[in-house]
């Protein structure tokens, strides 16, 4: 009976784990190569072609080293219950060195606010989703290709297969930069999050800019507001470090902002960027944790060992209890020193007999020995 119970418990615990060969919960946004660098998603025996369609588009002309918004639209695919879709943007589909950064691009912001080339998103009920990466184009002018790949599940999916699809190469003609064209600095990446309540100005690094303006709005709003912009280089004509005052946000609020850089007659309106609200940074330090941990360890150890001692039926416990010996060894109480003797009791018969009542002072008795008045305890308002 007990053996059956144990086996049934073990089987029940084993059945709690998932048996799927894929990652139905996703793996999170990250920088990944095509088919995750040859992982199981690329294994034909563990994946099937996606039934979705992928299309890529861009906003406006693209200049070398300047920002461009690249849109990836994915539609028509079957999905699993959680409607999770993993989407890549790639510079090649070789299985290694496929990240756009490996091909001269720089990710300013991914669709989820980070700076990854692989993002996971929940597809709305329309079955179509458009994801926008804001990239800095390669410094080298010419035609550059971008690819997109998708991963998703299906319902039902009895074999736990991953469904994967890849787009054709999307060619982007990167034009040479006109002299003095302002833009974002290649070493700047848009922050994905700001800490809740943090109102510090947003640092923006640019190239060739003499002026900069920023508009912001909360996600879902339609009318942007102008942000106050300042810089520390008022003396020089070209300034590439700016601070934009964007209001602090709290909770799950996401804020969108658009940077416009100017240099003389050039005015570059950059794609809208998004910034989420993150939790306040954790203030603990590793040494705080270590010291606190060892302090608790010592306290617990000493506390329990002291209880063990208390509960221990140790034979020698009585040897330490010398209470009886102390009591027995105490000498008789010595007489008080002269002048410290206790006063005799005042209620004896002799004392009261010497007290004389006075008619002039009813309620009081005269002590002729001590020469003092003493209150008469038997006096009751004139009726003795």
């Amino acid at each position: 009976m007990s053996r059956t119970l144990v086996i049934a418990s073990v089987v029940a615990l084993l059945m709690l784990s998932s048996s799927s060969v894929a990652n139905p919960g996703g793996n999170g946004d990250a920088d990944r190569d095509y088919t995750c660098g040859g992982s199981c998603h690329g294994d034909p025996s563990m994946s099937l072609p996606s039934d979705g369609t992928i299309s890529i588009s861009q906003d406006g002309d693209v200049f070398a080293g300047h920002a461009v918004a690249v849109h990836v639209n994915v539609a028509g695919m079957s999905l699993s219950d959680n409607r999770l879709l993993g989407t890549f943007i790639l510079g090649s589909i070789d299985g290694n060195d496929d990240h756009p950064e490996d091909h001269g691009w720089h990710v300013i912001q991914d669709p989820n606010g980070g700076s990854s080339n692989y993002v996971e998103t929940v597809v709305p009920s329309s079955g179509s989703v458009t994801l926008t990466w804001v990239l800095l184009a390669p410094e080298e002018a010419g035609v550059h290709n971008l690819f997109s790949q998708i991963h998703h599940g299906s319902e039902p999916n009895y074999d736990g297969m991953a469904y994967t699809g890849v787009s054709r190469g999307y060619s982007i003609d990167v034009s040479p930069v006109p002299e003095g064209l302002p833009g974002l600095s290649p070493d700047w990446t848009a922050p994905a999050y700001r800490a809740s309540g943090n109102g510090d100005p947003l640092e923006i690094h640019t190239v060739n800019s003499t002026s900069l303006s920023v508009q912001w709005m909360l996600e879902g709003e339609w009318s942007p507001n102008d942000a106050v912009v300042s810089s520390n280089c008022e003396d020089s004509e070209v300034c590439n470090e700016w601070q934009a005052e964007i209001p602090a946000t709290m909770g799950d609020t996401r804020i969108q902002y658009q940077i416009t850089v100017l240099n003389g007659s050039f005015s570059m309106e950059l794609p809208w960027l998004t910034m989420g609200t993150g939790p306040v940074p954790f203030e603990g330090d590793i040494w705080d944790a270590r010291v606190q941990s060892f302090a608790f360890a010592f306290l617990i150890l000493s506390f329990i060992v002291s209880i063990q001692i208390r509960l221990s039926p140790w034979d020698g416990k009585d040897d330490l209890d010398h209470t009886q010996e102390v009591v027995e060894s105490e000498p008789e109480i010595p007489p008080p020193p002269p002048g410290m003797e206790e006063e005799p009791q005042n209620d004896d018969e002799e004392y009261w007999s010497r007290l004389v009542p006075s008619e002039e002072n009813p309620g009081w008795l005269w002590d002729s020995v001590e020469e003092e008045w003493v209150a008469d305890p038997n006096f009751q308002g004139g009726e003795q």
Binding site: F282, D288, F298, L301, F303, S306, I307
Partner: protein
């Protein structure tokens, strides 16, 4: 070669495995008088469980510092969130409970199970150590995989928010703890091994 996180996982699995053995045997030792076991088998079963609990706890105590240190390296010596901070704290608590379990058993011998209050204390210490160790391990699962077996159990100690004491307060607690250890081990009466009847 392998990374610090892989090594940490291996060490944590050793600790968890041995402490499960120790806890089950410790609870068995404390409750054997209530289990319907033939009298002729009871003594051998008691001796076996006592030795197994001692061996498991000693091994857990031996490997726990290694697990903690490898965890430090795996975390790259940084504590970036409440979960990781609490993992340190629960590890310290587990270390304290396991050390108390082993110290008690070594000082008083197997006869401690014959004294009912001590047996209850010893098995309770093992259970608390089990819970603290499991909690620290489960936080590791939460950090790496985002899930833990505790998710399906009705037990979950506070871990999403950490009480970060200032370093001076922690240092003061550490000094108090060390002073308490000194008092307990050096100034209080020494316990004797309990003789088996």
């Amino acid at each position: 070669m392998f990374g610090a996180d892989t090594f940490h996982t291996a060490m944590a699995e050793i600790v968890v495995g041995t402490m499960v053995l120790a806890t089950v045997c410790a609870v068995g030792c404390a409750s054997i008088r209530y289990i319907p076991v033939p009298a002729d088998k009871r003594e051998s079963l008691m001796v076996t469980m006592d030795k197994a609990s001692m061996a498991g706890a000693s091994m857990a105590l031996l490997f726990m510092p290694i697990a903690i240190m490898s965890g430090n390296f795996a975390a790259e010596n940084t504590v970036g969130n409440d979960l990781l901070y609490n993992k340190f704290v629960y590890s310290g608590l587990a270390l304290g409970f396991w050390a108390a379990f082993v110290v008690g058993r070594v000082r008083m011998g197997p006869g401690l199970w014959e004294v009912r209050p001590l047996g209850i204390l010893q098995s309770s210490t093992a259970v608390m150590a089990f819970l603290m160790t499991t909690m620290a391990s489960s936080i590791g699962g939460k950090l790496v995989r985002g899930e833990s077996l505790f998710d399906v159990l009705p037990i979950w100690f506070p871990s999403d928010s950490a009480v970060v004491l200032p370093i001076w307060a922690s240092a003061a607690l550490l000094v108090v703890g060390m002073a308490a250890l000194f008092v307990v081990f050096r100034m209080s009466p020494r316990t004797e091994r309990i003789q088996l009847e």
